[in-house]
Amino acid sequence: MGVIPWVSWYALRRYSAYPLGSMAEAVTNSFFGVVRAGIVIALWHARPGLGGYDTADAVTYSFLTQSLIGPVQIFGGMELAQRIRSGDVAIDLHRPVNLQAWWLADDVGRAVSTLALRGLPPMLVGGLFFTMRLPGPGEAAAFTVSVALAVLLSFALRYLITLSQFWTHDERGVQAVTLVLSLFLSGMIVPLVAFPEPLGALARALPCSGLIQVPADVFLGRRAGGALLSGLAFQAGWAAALLAAGGLLTRAAERRLEAQGG
């Protein structure tokens, strides 16, 4: 147990080492937020109240998703992938620490750092130029929990994809395919509430919706009481299931490993 918090801490410091670089990313996130806000304003102008959102909800959603891009790393990828390709993973496997736990700790540090550096600017830009809906203290607390679960879920998914590399030797193909699913089915491109049914219902049942749509709904106060609990349980359930699958795959991979390049 002892070393794991340190892994997180050093990851946090490492990912915070170039604050200007992260802030620069936030500029791009904010720009995309503005474009997406323009699109949803037009859509909700044509269809007021679509999916139970009003225009302010939809605009807030646009900027919120941009804030979450960094922490939940919606575009996928992990440093571990490079290490598997180069064979450095052999060193990781020799450590007396579980591979999955080590990289989860690393990822938590990364997520906290990116949330701190990249989370706020898009929301500020949104608040400056548009009417947004801000949560009360209760919703904000629930949102924090939901984002934490989203990070966990995101790690569980990316870890599975990364480990597939032990068999394919190059995870980028698998990653490219899953990227499509996660971008579209998480609600990143269009809010899932605006999807036509039954596509919307299907997307909401899949784990990706726990990355963006569920935290956003919590932020917008669209989930309260039982709905809030079921939303968080949905995220936690998928995260637990996928982490367990990752654990099994780790054991299979340990038996499988052949370090390339000698």
Partner: protein, 304 residues
């Protein structure tokens, strides 16, 4: 050099215009004024690109999946547009065929420019870790070397969605196809490609000075590609002014599309601006070439 001799052919036009322009700056001894220098740059470019293609071919399954993935990822924006139009017949006054036309022209221009020059965005990385120095001692333009780096066949997957979308959307546009309109469509694709190509190089050149700017200049390249898929009527006037006069993204496809679709300009600009895209592309390419040369001249190695 920046004029576009093969305006009908986006790929050829872009390759000659952009690489020729910048190649001229890097090839020494002033031989650049002759037509041989741009030709050599193109040959070198193709040779290096082919080397990377063969390297990528070592993992054929991955390349196939990657091309498929890239194609579908690029197509995601279409899904986004289609979802919008399942909910409303018109968005900001534009029909689905019109928005798909904007998507097609923007995405085609962007993906071709991305294939040719997209990897220049890694310049900052190379400056930071000192590997740019290696490129400088080789007898080939550093721009060509960076642009061809990791050139993978997968990126061609990006061209497929816009081509399919244009084939679908063009016959469905409710307009009178005058010869002028027919001519403007390929012209806007070509000049859009040149504009995006120049923006890639400009954004890369900024990284000579501001190492950490890559994250922010993505707003111009990727953000610009996303923005130009939609009608500018979606956005606030001042924002549209910004992407017209400061970063001329509106000339990628919006201004010429106003002519093709026979729409009034929300900014009320005079009629000739709808045909200004090639000139804007030429001016921007010149600016990009200048910025790249200046950046390269002032580059100091990290020295380690």
């Amino acid at each position: 050099m920046v004029s576009d001799p093969t305006a009908g052919d986006a790929t050829a036009g872009d390759a000659t215009a952009d690489d020729g322009t910048v190649g001229e700056g890097v090839v020494p001894d002033g031989g650049a004024k002759t037509s041989a220098a741009p030709a050599r740059v193109v040959t070198t470019y193709c040779l290096l690109a082919w080397t990377w293609v063969r390297a990528a071919g070592q993992y054929p399954v991955s390349v196939a999946l990657l091309a498929l993935g890239t194609m579908v990822t690029a197509g995601l924006d279409i899904m986004g547009i289609l979802v919008l139009f399942t909910r409303a017949p018109r968005i900001a006054g534009f029909t689905s065929a019109e928005v798909l036309f904007l998507y097609g022209t923007s995405a085609l221009s962007f993906s071709v420019s991305d294939i040719v020059l997209g990897t220049t965005e890694r310049l900052g990385e190379r400056v930071r870790d000192g590997t740019l120095d290696v490129l400088l001692v080789r007898p080939v333009s550093p721009l060509v070397q960076i642009a061809t780096e990791d050139f993978t066949p997968r990126r061609f997957g990006r061209i497929v969605p816009p081509v399919l979308v244009l084939a679908f959307a063009l016959p469905r546009l409710d307009i009178d196809w005058t010869p002028g309109r027919v001519a403007v469509v390929p012209l806007m694709a070509a000049s859009g490609t040149v504009i995006f190509g120049a923006l890639w190089v400009l954004c890369a050149a900024v990284q000579f000075v501001l190492l950490n700017s890559h994250g922010a200049t993505k707003a111009i390249t990727y953000g610009g590609a996303f923005l130009t898929q939609y009608p500018m009527t979606l956005f606030a006037r001042d924002f549209v002014r910004g992407v017209t006069f400061v970063v001329p993204l509106a000339f990628v496809n919006w201004e010429p599309a106003l002519y093709v679709l026979d729409r009034p300009d929300p900014l009320g600009l005079p009629g000739w601006t709808r045909f200004a895209s090639p000139a804007v592309g030429a001016a921007l390419s010149a600016a990009a070439a200048l910025a790249w040369r200046t950046g390269l001249r002032h580059y100091r190695s990290t020295g380690s």
